[in-house]
């Protein structure tokens, strides 16, 4: 008799631990018989760096014993998708590409629409603009955000204080003023840095400054919208940081986010505009000298006066060649439900999620450093869709780098980029 409440309590704890199957999902309407069999999931990069993904996949396995998920990791999802469409076959069912690579595969019908994963109540969780990068020109949604990398301004409180600044910069003008005061090349100390590696990083960073200046990348018809005053201000600011004010290291046009992070956590840069994962590494990496001096702020505003930034996203997509669409959708649905998103935020510091409601959870507020800044930046950030995204990235990388290297003027670079983008459609 006395054991009954104990057994009941244990049972309820077990149910709570396994609780996700009971949690309402967008796919509750799908008949049980449709979900089953095997699928292959292609993860972006090694699982060793994605602990939350592994945790959530384990939870999916426990919740769906009728499904077998093969776990494959690859650093170059773009090449895998390209070879999939070129060579045929059913290489994988679900993948985690960068959102910027997704549109060109939507455009050739290589991906499956996932609209049913966004019933009204789920759709309401995503702030305006955060799904634009995965919404095709047919209006269907082809990817569900798995994780996002918001950009934030990271600064070294000690260096700023030594230079007489008691708060982080809030505008482009202040970035330059602070940067000049904090740049001491003879001490290997730079005022400001961002990573302009010749890949999608350049696209993301340029778009970020462009949004801060008040422009967008494309018009509704996908023609270029950046060759205007705001575009010129954005690119000129980037060029000036490097070549006129000289407040950033000359090599930033080769730096990716990791290189910018190294510069910052070793104390060689006082302020950097970089991805949110830098916070965790600045706080926890052994070589970090900024552990006790880390400051995180919202991105400074540009001429538009509005907080903005580019939202780098890694959605889960399902290939249209999958032989198991219901299971692929169920997997994506599970990996992006509220519980999985909470795990992502807590168990994989640095990778964030889109819905603001997750940031409002007390557990998240307690355990995720600078959760408020990250959440605010995500809400203020956006991304855009272009059906020829691969070519657009190449064009912007080439023209922005030409301006940075001063082989073209800002005006020339933007005019060339505009003409080339407009030729695509």
């Amino acid at each position: 008799m006395t054991r009954l409440p104990l057994v009941a309590a244990l049972a309820s704890i077990l149910c709570a631990c396994a609780g996700d199957p009971g949690q309402p999902t967008a796919l509750d309407g799908i008949a049980d018989g449709e979900v089953g069999g095997s699928i292959t999931f292609l993860n972006n990069g090694p699982f060793a760096y994605d602990p939350a993904t592994v945790i959530n996949m384990d939870r999916f396995d426990a919740a769906h014993p009728e499904v077998s998920v093969s776990r494959v990791e690859d650093n170059d999802i773009l090449a895998r998708l390209a070879t999939l469409v070129a060579g045929g076959g059913e290489d994988f069912d679900v993948a985690e590409p960068s959102a910027v690579n997704v549109p060109q595969f939507i455009d050739i019908a290589a991906l499956m629409p996932l609209d049913e994963l966004f019933p009204p109540e789920e759709m309401a969780r995503y702030p305006k603009g955060t799904l634009d990068a995965v919404t095709g020109r047919d209006g269907h949604i082809y990817g569900k955000p798995h994780y996002v990398l918001p950009q934030v301004l990271l600064y070294n409180k000690r260096l700023l204080a030594e230079a007489g600044f008691d708060r982080p910069p809030e505008t482009w003008e202040e970035i330059v003023a602070y940067g000049k005061a904090l740049t001491h090349p003879e001490k290997d100390q730079w005022g400001y840095a961002f990573g302009l590696s010749p890949n999608r990083d350049t696209y993301h960073i340029f778009a970020s400054y462009l949004y801060q200046a008040g422009a967008t990348l494309f018009h509704e018809d996908y023609s270029a919208a950046f060759n205007n005053d705001a575009g010129r201000q954005a690119l000129q600011f980037m060029v000036d940081v490097l070549n006129t004010h000289k407040i950033a290291p000359a090599g930033i046009t080769t730096y990716d986010g990791d290189a910018v992070q190294d510069l910052f956590i070793r104390g060689n840069a006082a302020m950097v505009q970089n991805w949110g994962y830098t916070i965790d590494r600045a706080l926890n990496r052994e070589e970090s000298v900024v552990r006790d001096d880390l400051g995180v702020a919202l991105l400074p505003v540009g001429p538009s006066g509005e907080l903005s930034g580019y939202l780098v996203m890694f959605p889960l997509v399902a290939t249209s060649s999958t032989r198991n669409p219901a299971t692929a959708k169920a997997f994506i649905d599970f990996m992006t439900n509220a519980e999985s998103q909470k795990r992502m935020l807590i168990d994989e510091p640095g990778n964030a999620v889109v819905p603001p409601d997750i940031f409002a959870l007390p557990e998240v507020r307690e355990r995720v450093p600078f959760a408020s800044e990250i959440g605010t930046m995500i809400e203020a950030s956006r991304a855009e869709y272009h059906p020829k995204s691969g070519q657009v990235v190449t064009i912007l990388v080439e023209e922005v780098h030409a301006a940075m290297a001063m082989t073209k003027s800002v005006e020339q670079a933007l005019a060339n980029a505009e003409a080339r983008v407009n030729q695509l459609m």
Binding site: N75, D76, L78, A79, A82, T83, V85, A86, G87, G88, S98, Q104, F105, I108, A109, A110, L111, P185, D188, S197, P198, N199, R200, D201, P249, A250, G251, I252, T253, T254, D256, A259, D262, L263, N268, T319, S320, S321, K388, G390, Q391, V393, T394, V397, E398, H401, A402, M404, A405, T407, K408
Partner: protein, 297 residues
């Protein structure tokens, strides 16, 4: 006799089949793709023959012309410099009498590393803030400020060429060393007896007798250089697979352009046309190099 021949063919048929499958078919597919229009039906690539328009388009394709120019600079510089330095190393190693094995092993080391690893090592060594190259040059007083080797349009391509030369010096040196060791000492002795200098020996004995080896090295190096991809990606590309040939397209060799068109732009036919151009160039280089080789007689 005919039966023996049948036997012989039956023995080589498995190997022949493998060669056909992994060499002939891909080349045929490449040629077919280069004269086709590509469309995507149900997310699958479909091709229809369209003629040589992709080749004629290349004439006015700025990126292709830039790549041709960059590949030319890279190939000529890298092959020439690796031949000169490799020959110097071979001559030096040929003089070594003690610890020959150790010296040869040390010389071979850069060639034993996979090019991707070498590219990564040099990427870090060229890093403007933390790189060894700047640290050494600044400490010996040859540099005042940190040089962004891979970000500067003036130094990016020379840096890539240097790394390629560094990787291939051992290959050149080992082949030329083998050639040097076939030259009889009596010939050098004869030059000395006639009062000739070391320069005379080199010019009138070493170089003429090394000619076939030099041509073989020239041929293989030129083919390697025309097809270069991995080293340039590691140094001037990025880990996200993007191969923009930074800075400002100065390192955009053919290999990068082929990858970019196919993988990043999904323009498989245009990419195949460029690959065919590289294939033809490689054939031309091979043809003339083989023609220049002395015949057996």
């Amino acid at each position: 006799m005919a039966r023996n021949r049948l036997y012989a063919y039956s023995f080589i048929s498995p190997a022949l089949f493998v060669v056909l499958a992994i060499v002939v078919y891909p080349v045929f597919f490449l040629l077919q793709l280069s004269v086709s229009e590509v469309s995507f039906v149900q997310a699958r690539m479909a091709t229809t023959l369209s003629g040589f328009n992709h080749f004629s388009d290349l004439i006015s394709d700025g990126a292709f012309l830039n790549s041709a120019y960059r590949t030319g600079i890279f190939t000529v510089s890298s092959v020439f410099l690796s031949l000169i330095t490799g020959l110097g190393v071979a001559l030096a190693v040929n003089k070594v009498r003690k610890g020959v094995t150790l010296v040869r092993l040390a010389v071979l080391l850069p060639w034993l590393l996979p090019p991707v690893v070498s590219g990564l090592i040099w990427r870090w060594m060229f890093h403007d803030q933390f790189g060894l190259v700047n640290w050494i040059l600044m400490n010996v007083g040859l540099l005042q400020n940190r040089q962004p080797w891979m970000a500067d349009v003036a130094t990016a391509m020379p840096s890539v060429i240097w790394v390629d030369v560094w990787i291939h010096i051992p290959f050149v040196a080992i082949i030329l060393l083998a050639g040097l060791q076939t030259i009889p000492d009596e010939l050098y002795e004869a030059v000395r007896v006639d009062g000739g200098s070391s320069l005379h020996s080199f010019w009138h004995v070493t170089l003429p007798l090394l000619r076939p080896y030099l041509l073989v090295v020239l041929l293989i190096r030129a083919i390697f250089a025309l097809r270069v991809f991995d080293i340039v990606v590691m140094l001037a590309g990025s880990k996200f697979g993007s191969v923009a040939g930074a800075p400002a397209g100065t390192t955009q060799v053919f290999g990068l352009l082929i990858w970019q068109r196919a993988i990043e732009h999904l323009k498989f036919a245009e990419s195949a046309a460029i690959a065919v151009v590289v294939l033809v160039l490689t054939f031309v280089v091979s043809f003339f190099s083989i023609k220049m080789l002395p015949s057996k007689t």
